[in-house]
Every structure is written in structure tokens, then in C-alpha cells.
């Protein structure tokens, strides 16, 4: 949970890289961009390996974020996706590349899954001009127009009606795109959730609302913040379809979300899906998570869907050498992103003007 930590200005006191040093662009990353159902590997195992790679990439990027945060290179608030990777990876795998995704402040993982280059994410976190928002946004506010990642949003529930609007536009234009809207179970108590669902239901919009229920809204367990245990009961009042399951198997996540996506694409109908998951870290970097026991955490870690995916690959005959190669490849990509972020320049204050209005405004 956000608790103020002494801000570190280490990153700012570092000398900026010399102007002459070449600045690689995020686009040159080696990351495979998101693959659509038509373009992805054919065999089941190869596909699972691809999903495993995505999950591992997210986990490793998040671990590097934690390290950079401790070193003061990332400031403010940092919410990690560790433990929840199967949700974002599985759900986004059910999409076509041109579909839309919109999410909360816990957004690095979903941005990566949607194809955003690790470089752009890391650089944004480091507050560098090469970041996805030119270093002006930071952790909670990832954005990537190219990959139709419509952003991470720091105001809980604020993006849910926006998502309905995006889906409305798809329906209006008949472009056949689907919108995935992610949020935590904490958001279910705020008006934006209900207003977004109400509109999507009334106008039959092509959208899938995905509640990532990681059991805690900051320090408050679900049992103390909602009168019912099943989030999807909220769908009943709006008369929309619903689904509910544990994110233990990334392939299952993909398949169940694919059903909802199909309903959205083919019938233009919304669905509310609750996916039970668990975050292995605190709410944010400054949360010691004292509200849960170590035993509970250890129990959950045993069920880590990422490890399950790896075990399944091994059991299915995916060669250990290939797994190792894949893992090394991820390490290379992560190291490249960190290096890129470290070496990129900081933004200039003049950016504030051009990013606030489309024309000049200051006087």
C-alpha cells in the first residue's frame, strides 16, 4: 500500500548520457510482439511455451523493477504483478492484436502481454524520455497506442466506464474489435464499476470485464469490503453473462476468456469474469503486507501458475534445453531493457507544454 518512503533522487543526480551516445528506440527491442491466434505457434506445447515465456518475462521484469526501486531508480509507487501473470497472459492470448486492453495501475504485466516492448516500460519506470509516456507518467500509467493498450489507470474504477466507451466505438464503427477491461475486486465497490457495467449491458457492448480477485484490496480482505463473496453476482443485476474460476492454469484462462471474447465479437454481448488469483508481493513496494500470514503466502506460492506451466511443459516432453534457451532469452531481454532504461536521457521540462494541450497555452 502506498506509504511514503523517503524519495530517492539518485537517478536524478546521475550524469545524463552524453548527447552523442546513440539512443536506441523502444521499437528495436527483441521482444516478440503480441501474436494473434492466426500467427502464433501451432502445436499445443509450443503455444504453452510461448505463454510461459510471457509469464516469465513479466516476472523477471517485475523483479528487476523491485531492485531498481530499492536502488532509487524508480520512485513513487510501484505495484507488482508477480503471482498474477497467468491472468494477464492467458486473457490477452485470447485476443487478436488489434483488440483493446485497458487496466489499472498494476499494469506492467498486462502491457507486456499486450506486446509493449520491455524497453518502453522500463524506461518509463526510470522516468526517461524514451519511456512509453516520455517519463511523465511512471509506473501506474503505461500507455501504448501502437498495441492498443489504452493505459493503466491510478484512480480505481475510473477506467471502467472508459472501457465501455471504447467498446461502444467498436460497435459504432463495426470494426469487430473487442475490449478487455481489467480491474481488482476493490473496484467493485465504486460507482465507476456499476456505471460501466450498466451501460455495457444496456447497449450490448463487445467487452469483457475481468475482475482480478487477488483477495486483498490493499490491506482489506474481500470479506471485509463486500457483502457477497462472489463478485460475478453483480452481473445478475445487469443481466449479463458471467464466469468465475481460479487462474491456476494459463491455458484455462485463455480458453475461458476466449469464450467471453467470442460472445463479445460475434454477438456483441458483455461478460463479467472473476478470476481468482493472488499477488505474491505487497500491494505496492511500501506495503509489508502484515495483514496476511507467511503461511498463507507460502501456500499460495506452491500453486504458482508459472511454475505449473513449466512443469507441464517438461512433462509434455518439451526439452529442458529448449526451456533453458527460452529462459536465457528472457534474461537477455530483461537485461537489455534495464540497460536501455539506464542509458536513456531524462525528459526536458519543455515537454510539459506540448503534452498538455495540442497547441501552445502557457503565458
Amino acid at each position: 500500500m502506498p506509504q511514503p518512503t523517503t524519495p530517492s533522487h539518485d537517478s536524478q543526480s546521475e550524469a545524463k548520457p552524453a548527447a552523442a551516445s546513440p539512443t536506441p528506440t523502444p521499437g528495436t527491442s527483441t521482444a516478440p510482439s503480441q501474436l494473434g491466434p492466426e500467427t502464433r505457434p501451432s502445436g499445443e506445447l509450443d503455444h504453452l511455451a510461448f505463454l510461459y515465456r510471457q509469464m516469465l518475462l513479466i516476472r523477471r521484469i517485475e523483479e528487476e523493477c523491485a531492485r531498481a526501486y530499492a536502488e532509487g531508480k524508480i520512485g513513487g509507487f510501484l505495484h507488482l504483478y508477480i503471482g498474477q501473470e497467468a491472468v494477464g497472459v492467458g486473457a490477452v492470448a485470447a485476443l487478436k492484436p488489434e483488440d483493446y486492453v485497458i487496466t489499472t495501475y498494476r499494469d506492467h504485466g498486462i502491457a507486456l502481454a499486450k506486446g509493449m516492448p520491455a524497453r518502453a516500460i522500463m524506461a518509463e519506470l526510470f522516468g526517461k524520455a524514451t519511456g512509453c509516456s516520455k517519463g511523465l507518467g511512471g509506473s501506474m500509467h503505461m500507455f501504448d497506442r501502437e498495441h492498443n493498450m489504452l493505459g493503466g489507470y491510478g484512480i480505481v474504477g475510473g477506467h471502467i466506464p472508459l472501457a465501455a466507451g471504447v467498446a461502444f466505438a467498436s460497435k459504432y464503427r463495426g470494426d469487430g474489435k473487442v475490449t478487455l477491461c481489467f480491474f481488482g475486486e476493490g473496484a467493485v465497490s465504486i460507482g465507476g464499476f456499476h456505471e460501466g457495467l450498466s451501460l455495457a449491458a444496456l447497449w450490448k457492448l463487445p467487452i469483457v470485464f475481468i475482475c482480478e480477485n487477488n483477495e486483498y484490496s490493499m490491506g482489506t480482505p474481500l470479506s471485509r469490503s463486500m457483502s457477497v463473496e462472489d463478485v460475478t453476482t453483480k452481473a445478475l443485476g445487469y443481466g449479463i453473462d458471467r464466469d468465475r474460476f481460479f487462474a491456476s492454469d494459463v491455458l484455462e484462462v485463455e480458453q475461458r476468456i476466449a469464450e467471453a471474447v467470442q460472445r463479445a465479437r460475434e454477438q456483441s454481448l458483455p461478460t463479467l469474469v472473476e478470476i481468482r488469483t493472488y499477488r505474491f508481493r505487497g500491494h505496492s513496494m511500501s506495503d509489508p503486507a502484515k495483514y496476511r500470514t507467511q503461511a498463507e503466502l507460502e501456500e499460495q506460492k506452491k500453486k504458482d501458475p508459472m511454475h505449473r506451466a513449466r512443469a507441464r511443459l517438461s512433462a509434455g516432453g518439451y526439452a529442458e534445453t529448449r526451456l533453458k534457451a527460452l529462459e536465457e532469452d528472457v534474461e537477455t531481454e530483461v537485461a537489455d531493457a534495464v540497460k536501455f532504461a539506464n542509458e536513456s536521457p531524462e525528459p526536458d521540462a519543455s515537454l510539459l507544454e506540448e503534452t498538455t494541450y495540442s497547441g501552445p497555452f502557457a503565458y
Binding site: 500500500m1 509507487f77 484512480i155 469490503s225
Partner: protein, 358 residues
């Protein structure tokens, strides 16, 4: 009030906590013998505890205010002391929290809702503007909704666009609301208790940048301070600098540097933003003829605009130079460029010198 502080920070090179060693002795403090040292967080907790002990009608509600003790730990220990009926953990529901608080107040309770960050207050803004601010008026003065809304404001922790804003003018603009922003622990406790005593709704803005950095003596028990009184925090003959909250210390830093160049600043800590203590401001401007207003919020329609207008109305013929505002930019609050955006001493100083030389 006296404040000691460290050297003027070079831009962004010294972490905030090292920059200010703020030992303040506010007006509230004078009189008592030995007083405990506290930071802002502890002083506010102390004020809340005192108010709850004194008056059973006082209840606290908000997200994670109970068991967890609040994200900034301001309500720590109160849940254990007063129980879950008086320190109420709510779902994530700012509109609900605020609406409920207003209803509680109508029924004679004294609710103190906490909004985790002022940036999250907008789902409750409708309740505050449409209902809370208007209850006294629409009931012909029969009802007053005595609600004290506590919420942290301001930048300095690299929180970016949703964890850094200073929305005071959005509330000052709404008739019927009072707005407070203390700069030191003793004032924080004193003004909180004054807000709780006050019959009108009060927005109590806590400058998060100095939550733990500002330390000072805080009187035990009751403190009798009044809302609506500014403090002349430093006397000087040449330029009046008006600031509040965390930026007060930046004003001091700039004043120290200006003094080395022969320019003496009179620094006013506004403490209550609305109703504003215009008499103290006018008295100072009549003396100096020059004024610089400092605030974190964007310039356009920020509270500085109102202050300058009031100064023009009430002390125009005493002015020797155009009043100047040193403020945040007219942009969302940036993640990286925080030290450019904030009106820190390095931006206040040139404005002070230019105004002095005008």
C-alpha cells in the same frame, strides 16, 4: 513560529528528508512546559485521539483507516483503542464514504472521513459540492453538516499524476466549505481540533511531503487555536512571501538566500486558506509593497489568483511591484520533472529578487 532548516537544496540533489530539519514552535505551542516532540503524522494522530476521547460523536471512516492504520499510518492505534464502530474500514467507495459521512453529520455525529490521497477525492466531489457545502444554506441555517475531511495533498514523493495534486482552489471556490493546510506538527494538531470544533464542513489538507520530515513540539491535550488566522512566520521589510503547507519551507530557504543578498522577506504561513486572513496579508503588503505567492497547484485559477485579486482590491496603492505567483505549471503533475514543476526555493528566489528590484 521559528523554523530552522538546512541549506538550500541544489536542484534535486539532496533528498527532501535531509533538506529540512524543521523544528517548529508554533503559536499553539507557547505556554506549555515540556512538550513531546512529534512529526506531523504523530501530531494528527494525537489530535484525533484527543477528539475521540473528548467526544463520543466523533467517528473516523475510510479505506484501510482501521486495522491497517491508514496508508500513511495517521490513524494507527485508534482502531485498537476505540473499536470498529468508531474507526470504520470502508470499501473502496469515495462517494459512499462522503455521502455516508454527511448523513452521519445530519444525525448529529461528527464524522472525520479520510480520503487516501486528495487525488481520489473526485468521486466524492459531487457529494461535497452538491450536498455538504449547501446543507446549512438550504436548511435556512437549521443544519450544519459538521464533517472534517482529512486528506493528504501535494507532490514531492514522485507519485506522478494521481498521487501529487493540490486541489485546494477547487474547494475554496465552493461557497460553504472551509479549507485548512498546516505546515508543522503543532499547527496540525491545533487546527485539526479547531476544525472539529467548527460548526461548518472543513477540508483538512495534510502536506504529505512533510508528514515525517516536519518535527516539533506539540502540546498535550487540548489546544485552542482558531481557524482563519495566518502566522507571520518570518519578519522582513522588503518582500512579502505567502505560502502554506510543504512550500513554506521552500519559502524559508529562498528567504535565507535572499537575505544574503540584502533582501529581507516577510514569510506568511496562511494555515487556513479559507476563510483567508486577509488582514495579516494586507498589513504585511502595506509594509513591504511587494508580494510573491507560492503554491504547488497550477497557476491558472489557483488560489494565488484570488490572493492577488484581494491584495489588489485592498492594498493597491501600497504596491511597489506587480504581485507575482510562483506555482506548479498548467499541466498534469509529472512523474520525472517533479523538481521543475514544484515551486521550490530555486524558483522562488529569482522571483523574490526580481520583485525586490522592480
Amino acid at each position: 513560529m521559528r523554523l530552522k532548516r538546512g541549506v538550500l537544496r541544489r536542484r534535486g540533489l539532496v533528498p527532501m528528508a535531509h533538506m529540512i530539519r524543521l523544528e517548529s514552535v508554533s503559536e499553539a505551542g507557547t505556554g506549555a512546559m515540556t512538550m513531546p516532540q512529534m512529526n506531523m503524522v504523530q501530531a494528527i494522530t494525537d489530535g484525533l485521539r484527543h477528539a475521540m476521547k473528548r467526544d463520543e460523536r466523533v467517528v473516523i471512516l475510510g479505506e484501510d483507516v482501521g486495522k491497517v492504520g491508514g496508508v500513511f499510518r495517521v490513524t494507527q492505534g485508534l482502531y485498537e483503542e476505540f473499536g470498529d464502530e468508531r474507526v470504520i474500514d470502508t470499501p473502496l467507495s469515495e462517494g459512499g464514504i462522503m455521502g455516508c459521512a454527511i448523513g452521519m453529520a445530519l444525525h448529529g455525529l461528527v464524522p472525520i472521513p479520510e480520503i487516501q490521497f486528495a487525488d481520489f477525492i473526485y468521486p466524492a466531489y459531487d457529494q461535497i459540492v452538491s450536498e455538504l457545502a449547501k446543507l446549512r444554506y438550504r436548511s435556512g441555517g437549521e443544519y450544519s453538516a459538521k464533517v472534517v475531511i482529512r486528506t493528504p495533498i501535494g507532490g514531492g514523493i514522485r507519485g506522478g499524476l494521481y498521487h501529487s495534486q493540490s486541489p485546494e482552489s477547487l474547494f475554496i471556490h465552493v461557497a460553504g466549505l472551509k479549507v485548512v493546510c498546516p505546515s508543522n506538527p503543532a499547527d496540525a494538531k491545533g487546527l485539526l481540533l479547531a476544525a472539529i470544533r467548527d460548526p461548518d464542513p472543513v477540508l483538512f489538507f495534510e502536506p504529505k511531503r512533510i508528514y515525517r520530515a516536519a518535527r516539533g513540539e506539540v502540546p498535550e491535550g487540548e489546544i485552542t487555536m482558531e481557524l482563519g488566522k495566518a502566522a507571520v512566520a518570518r519578519e522582513g521589510a522588503h518582500v512579502t512571501v505567502i505560502a502554506w503547507g510543504a512550500m513554506l519551507y521552500e519559502a524559508f530557504a529562498a528567504a535565507d538566500e535572499a537575505s544574503k543578498k540584502g533582501v529581507e522577506c516577510e514569510v506568511i504561513d496562511l494555515r487556513t486558506l479559507w476563510p483567508v486572513d486577509i488582514d495579516t496579508i494586507v498589513a504585511s503588503v502595506k509594509k513591504t509593497g511587494r508580494v510573491v505567492v507560492v503554491h504547488e497547484a497550477p497557476k491558472t485559477c489557483g488560489f494565488g489568483a484570488e490572493l492577488v485579486a484581494l491584495i489588489n482590491e485592498k492594498a493597491f496603492l501600497h504596491l511597489e511591484a506587480p504581485p507575482v505567483r510562483v506555482t506548479g505549471f498548467d499541466s498534469p503533475f509529472p512523474y520525472t520533472l517533479e523538481n521543475d514543476y514544484l515551486p521550490l526555493a530555486h524558483r522562488i528566489l529569482p522571483a523574490v529578487l526580481r520583485t525586490a528590484q522592480f
